[in-house]
Structure formats: structure tokens, C-alpha cells
């Protein structure tokens, strides 16, 4: 993967309106050959509409979509070099597995021998060997999804589109399929474009994620960047769990910055944020990046927060809520100013969850590279 990746799909100023409702609002983005691209967003944000426009089931009201350099404006779905795995899988109920998977090849007039070989190969790929004669109603949801995958992959499309591929599976199977899909994509080398509202799915599978909000791209970045460097409050809040506080930018230099948050206290960052001095900003702080201490450990806390000037990146509060999740414990803490903050703490030993309980006074600190300053 050293060679420069070429865009396989180019979306240029695409808008889609249904009557007065704007589902997709002037989106432009490139999807690169061979990547696992995820469109992430809440329901109704326009991500599925965008996917359906790539497949050809919806026509853009404005703008153009190019696939492999070719303008798709006048190309119907059955002539596009893409295939789709539908949310409902859309496995043909009156055909067995072999006929389902071979459907597209039969339509294309491929010879019987080649159909047999390619269907067998595709079924092997999705681990459905031995299911050739099964009817769809004799299969589980997960197996039907594999049929739908094989049926699309057998066509050797340039791009495989997946509409909420894991939403109908139970939690365990979903986690397994996340790995399998990523593995499969790596194996076949086809560009995958997936739509999901599930951030775990997006973070675990994608090479790049476009977060869509109200028909617009809120941020386009690799998963880790999305989580650690969200571009705005929507992304910070939608991807993962986050505490957001309003504040004023009081210091902004190339190697340091400070924000005064009335709700949380003085925030210090060990990097610049390039925002106008005195501007209204928001500080995002992930729950797992906040350390909890009992108040008596004042010295320890100060020592821990020594990457910031005195009195910065510290807070005090009272535990108002607790939920033990096994691997971590979530705490709802009321700050001295009255605002709530969420802190998660890994249970590194078996009794860690017993360290804090309701109404405990606690101190908190975080590292100077943890807060993210958001300008919008």
C-alpha cells in the first residue's frame, strides 16, 4: 500500500432534496481505492441517501458522482460497477444459496462452469461452504447476511456498498462480524463503503470515517483522529462520550494555550489552538482521560498535574452517580460550580470499584494534552 491511492468515488457538490427536506446538503468528498470508508451519523442525517445515490437508487438533485472517473449521472443502478449489501440483506427468498449468489452472474450471461466456480469461491470466502442448497428461511440472520455479501462479492465490483450491515445482528455476532468484515475487505481488496449509526462499528472497521450531520460532512478523518481530535462539538459528542464546557480562550501560543471555563476551572494545554484571543470556545474532555483522587491526596494530585501551571487542570466535586460496567466504572460527579462531569475509571484490580462511592468528595486532574479546544 505504498503507492499513492487514487480516488475511486468522487462526490462533487452533491445535494438531495425530497420536497422541502434537504437530506444531503452540498457534500463533496473522495473515497480512495481499496479503503474501508464509513459514513457515520445519527438516523436521518442523510448518510443512507448518499449511499443510495452512489448505488443509483436515488438521483442527486444537484452535483455529480464519479465512479472510477466516470460520471454516473445517467447510469442506472444495474449498469454501475458497484454492488450493495442491503440492511435487510434482501436475499431472494425463492432461491437457494447457490442461485442467490449466482444471480448476478446468470444475468450477466456468464458460462455455467464459471458461475459454479465463482459461486463456490465466494461462499468459501464468507465461510458458507456446505450451505449451497439451503433456502433463506432455513438460515439465521448472520448466515443470510453472508449470502448477501457473497452475492455482491461474486460480481467483483469496484466498490461494495454496505447499508447498516451489522444493525440486525446481536451484540456478540456484531463484534465478530466487525473483525470479519475488516478482514474480508483486506483479503479481496475491494473498496468498502459502509453506512452506520454505530460509532463502535465505524471506529473498529474504518480506514476513514466521514461523520455526517444534517446532510453535511461534520468531519472526515481516520477513526483515531476523529476520537482524539474532533473538529467540532457535534463530532466530539457523537463519537464516544464526552464532557463539554464553555470557556474563553485566555492564552494561545504555538506551544501552549489556556482556557478559562467557569464551570470547570482553568484549563491548560501543551499545544496551541490557533483561535482568536478572548474568543468563546468549548473544551471537550473524555471521561477516561480524567483521573480520580481522594481529596486527602492533595500533594499527589498536584504532582500528577505538574505538566500544567499551578491551579490548572484540576477540579473538585462530589460523586452523585455511579454505574459499574465490569471493565470500567462510570462516575457522575457534581463539580463545585454545580455542573456535572462524567469520569470513567478502569477496574485494574478486582476491588477498584470499591474505592469511591456515592457522596464521596473527590479531586480530579487530567493531563495537559487531554483537553480538546473546539471553536464550533
Amino acid at each position: 500500500m505504498t503507492q499513492a491511492k487514487q480516488p475511486i468515488i468522487q462526490i462533487r457538490n452533491v445535494s438531495k432534496r425530497f420536497g422541502k427536506v434537504t437530506a444531503v446538503d452540498n457534500i463533496s468528498l473522495d473515497i480512495l481505492a481499496g479503503e474501508f470508508f464509513v459514513l457515520l451519523g445519527p438516523s436521518g442525517c442523510g448518510k443512507t441517501t448518499l449511499l443510495r445515490m452512489i448505488a443509483g437508487f436515488e438521483m442527486p438533485t444537484e452535483g455529480q458522482i464519479f465512479i472510477d472517473g466516470q460520471d454516473m449521472s445517467l447510469v442506472p443502478p444495474n449498469k454501475r460497477p458497484v454492488n450493495m449489501v442491503f440492511q435487510s440483506y434482501a436475499v431472494f427468498p425463492h432461491m437457494n444459496v447457490t442461485d442467490n449468489v449466482g444471480y448476478g452472474l446468470r444475468i450477466a450471461g456468464v458460462s455455467k462452469g464459471e458461475i459454479r466456480d465463482r459461486v463456490a469461491e465466494a461462499l468459501e470466502l464468507v465461510k458458507l461452504g456446505g450451505f449451497e442448497d439451503r433456502m433463506p428461511d432455513q438460515m439465521s440472520g448472520g448466515q443470510r447476511q453472508r449470502v448477501a455479501l457473497a452475492r455482491s462479492l461474486v460480481m467483483r465490483p469496484k466498490v461494495l456498498l454496505l447499508d447498516e450491515p451489522l444493525s440486525a445482528l446481536d451484540a456478540k455476532l456484531r463484534a465478530q462480524m466487525q473483525f470479519e468484515l475488516a478482514d474480508l475487505q483486506d483479503k479481496v481488496g475491494i473498496t468498502f463503503v459502509t453506512v452506520t449509526h454505530d460509532q463502535d462499528e465505524a471506529l473498529s472497521m474504518a480506514s476513514r470515517v466521514a461523520v455526517i450531520n444534517k446532510g453535511e460532512v461534520a468531519q472526515l478523518a481516520p477513526p483515531a483522529d476523529l476520537y482524539e481530535y474532533p473538529a467540532n462539538r457535534f463530532v466530539a459528542d457523537f463519537v464516544g462520550s464526552v464532557n463539554i464546557f464553555e470557556g474563553k480562550l485566555t492564552l494561545d501560543e504555538p506551544d501552549k494555550a489556556a482556557v478559562d471555563c467557569p464551570g470547570l476551572g482553568k484549563i491548560y494545554l501543551n499545544h496551541g489552538v490557533t483561535g482568536p484571543h478572548g474568543a468563546d470556545v468549548w473544551v471537550a474532555l473524555r471521561p477516561e482521560k480524567i483521573y480520580l483522587h481522594v481529596p486527602g491526596e492533595g500533594k499527589a494530585v498536584r504532582a500528577a498535574a505538574q505538566d500544567a501551571p499551578d491551579g490548572h487542570n484540576l477540579a473538585r466535586g462530589t460523586i452523585k452517580g455511579m454505574s459499574y460496567l465490569g471493565d470500567i466504572t462510570l462516575y457522575e460527579i457534581q463539580l463545585e460550580g454545580g455542573q456535572m462531569i462524567r469520569v470513567s475509571r478502569p477496574n485494574l484490580s478486582r476491588h477498584d470499584q470499591e474505592d469511591f462511592t456515592w457522596d464521596d468528595k473527590v479531586s480530579m486532574h487530567w493531563r495537559a494534552d487531554s483537553p480538546v479546544v473546539l471553536l464550533s
Binding site: 444495474n78 442491503f86 435487510s88 434482501a90 427468498p93 444475468i107 450477466a108 452475492r151
Partner: protein, 303 residues
């Protein structure tokens, strides 16, 4: 729900309580009269209002005369043609309703069902008024004819002869048209219910896999709508086979169907035994059709 119904063997008393009344009703008002008519078919007239059930097969023998066989065959042909036309017209209609915007669907369905709430006799006479020699159909055709004639004069040709109204009524054409008109809703509703249940993403999946609209229709829509098609065909064919009013009012002298012949036996000819025999031959024909259909359904279920 279904569990409770399946357990009727272990819940005999409530089951009996529910089932007794309808069984009694059916026995008294359906099975008994049918049995009497069935017995008549083995009898002969013993007087103006007296039938002697002698066990004779003469009535059935008479029914095999070419005159009656040909009317049976013709009834089948007319009913089959009607069903076929209903299917050809009804399928696009059902598809259109299925794919219409959700807010329009109830209104379109209402449009299909509205004729049900109007008396068949009124509907038939209304249709006849349209199709008469002075009806709107002839008037419309006359306008077209005159338009064509005028166009001919424009290009310097001789005008056409004056329009003579076409005989639309009182022939086989009128009977088939009337039957199609009456039976179309019976075809559209089962087709609609089958198509409505069809997952639309199956159609998209077929298009996505490279099939055009026609191939998608033949390979996906038709096979999956098959139960609706079979139901629609049965529910159209059987009543059309026994159609009485439409051929009686709209048909000519040569377009009577088997039900008209049966009616004549019971009324004008006052030959109840022969009428009964013809009736039962018609019923047997329908039984055979239904048996075929359920055998086919069982085969599909087993496969």
C-alpha cells in the same frame, strides 16, 4: 394465539361452543339445500310442481349433448379470457398502488373497492348506457371518426363516409368487457396484498446485481407474487365461470353462458332435475379447479 388454536383437541368444550353455531348454520342453509338439489339431478318431472327422484342418469346424459357441452366450453373460454385480461390489466394497477406514495394508497384502494358498494345491476346498466348505440363510447368514436375525416380533407383527400354507430352491446365482446369490469377488483386486491408484502429492497437488489426492469419483474416480482396471482386467478375465474347477470343483460343471442342455461331450466323450462344436473356439473368443474390449486400449493409448501 396460534398455540391456542392448535390446541383445540385438548380444549374441546370451548371449541365446540365456538364451532357449533356456524356448523349448524352451514348444515341447515347450505348442505341441506345443496343435497336436495343434488338429489333432484337424479330425478324427473312427475307433474308441474312435482319431482320424482328415480335415480335416473338421464339428466347427466342429456348434459353431454353437444349443445350443452359447447356452452360449457364457451363459458370456460369466456371466463379464462376474462381472467387473463383481468390479470394483464390488474397487475400494473396493483403495482401502481403498491408503489404509490403512502398517502395516496388508501384512496387508490378505495377507488378499486368503490364499485363493490354499488349494486351489480346498477353498474351493469350504467356500463350499458355508456356502450349503447347512442352512448358516450359511440359518441367519442364518432368524434374521432369525424376528426379523421376532417384531417383527410385537409390533405386533399375525400372525406370519410358518415359515422355509423358501432354495435358494442349484445355480443361476446360486450360480455367479456362487462365481466372484466366486474371482476377486476377481485384480481387487483389479492395481487396488491401479495405485492405489498414484497420487500422492495429485493427489487433494488436485483437491479443492483445487473438485472434490468423486465428481468427483475420476471425473476423476482412474478415468482414472489405467485400466491397472489394464483389467488387472484381463482377468485376471478370461478365467479366468472358462473356469471349470469352480465351475459344475460349485455350478451347477444349467441353469448349465453352456462349459468343462463341453468336459469332457463329452473324458470322458463321448469325442468328442475336437468337444471340441477347442469348446476352440479358446474360445481364439479369448480371443485376440480380448487383441487388443482390446493395440490399445487401443497407441492410448493413441501418443496
Amino acid at each position: 394465539m396460534s398455540g391456542a388454536l392448535q390446541d383445540w383437541k385438548s380444549q374441546k368444550k370451548p371449541f365446540a361452543a365456538v364451532v357449533t353455531a356456524p356448523v349448524f348454520w352451514l348444515a341447515l342453509f347450505f348442505v341441506a339445500p345443496m343435497a336436495i338439489v343434488w338429489l333432484y339431478s337424479f330425478g324427473q318431472n312427475a307433474g308441474p310442481a312435482d319431482i320424482e327422484i328415480s335415480g335416473t342418469l338421464d339428466n347427466y346424459k342429456r348434459a353431454t349433448e353437444w349443445l350443452y357441452v359447447s356452452i360449457f366450453l364457451k363459458s370456460f373460454a369466456v371466463a379464462t379470457l376474462t381472467t387473463l385480461l383481468c390479470l394483464i390489466i390488474g397487475f400494473p394497477v396493483a403495482m401502481a398502488i403498491t408503489f404509490a406514495a403512502p398517502k395516496w394508497r388508501p384512496w387508490l384502494l378505495l377507488g378499486i373497492m368503490l364499485p363493490f358498494w354499488t349494486n351489480l345491476l346498477i353498474r351493469t346498466y350504467a356500463l350499458m348506457a355508456l356502450m349503447g348505440t347512442n352512448g358516450y363510447m359511440n359518441k367519442g368514436l364518432g368524434e374521432l371518426w369525424e376528426g379523421a375525416s376532417w384531417l383527410r380533407t385537409l390533405v386533399g383527400m375525400q372525406p370519410l363516409d358518415a359515422w355509423t354507430p358501432v354495435q358494442l352491446l349484445y355480443n361476446n365482446f360486450a360480455v367479456v368487457l362487462g365481466l372484466v369490469y366486474v371482476h377486476l377488483p377481485f384480481m387487483v386486491l389479492p395481487l396488491y396484498s401479495a405485492l405489498d408484502r414484497l420487500d422492495k429492497s429485493l427489487i433494488e437488489a436485483s437491479l443492483d446485481l445487473g438485472a434490468g426492469h423486465f428481468k427483475t419483474f420476471m425473476q423476482i416480482v412474478v415468482p414472489l407474487a405467485a400466491p397472489g396471482i394464483v389467488a387472484g386467478v381463482m377468485i376471478t375465474l370461478i365467479p366468472a365461470l358462473g356469471a349470469y347477470l352480465t351475459p344475460d343483460l349485455m350478451g347477444g343471442t349467441d353469448s349465453q353462458m352456462i349459468a343462463n342455461v341453468i336459469e332457463r331450466q329452473f324458470k322458463r323450462a321448469n325442468d328442475w332435475p336437468f337444471g340441477a344436473a347442469l348446476s352440479f356439473l358446474l360445481i364439479y368443474a369448480m371443485f376440480i379447479l380448487i383441487a388443482f390449486q390446493s395440490m399445487r400449493a401443497n407441492k410448493v409448501k413441501a418443496a
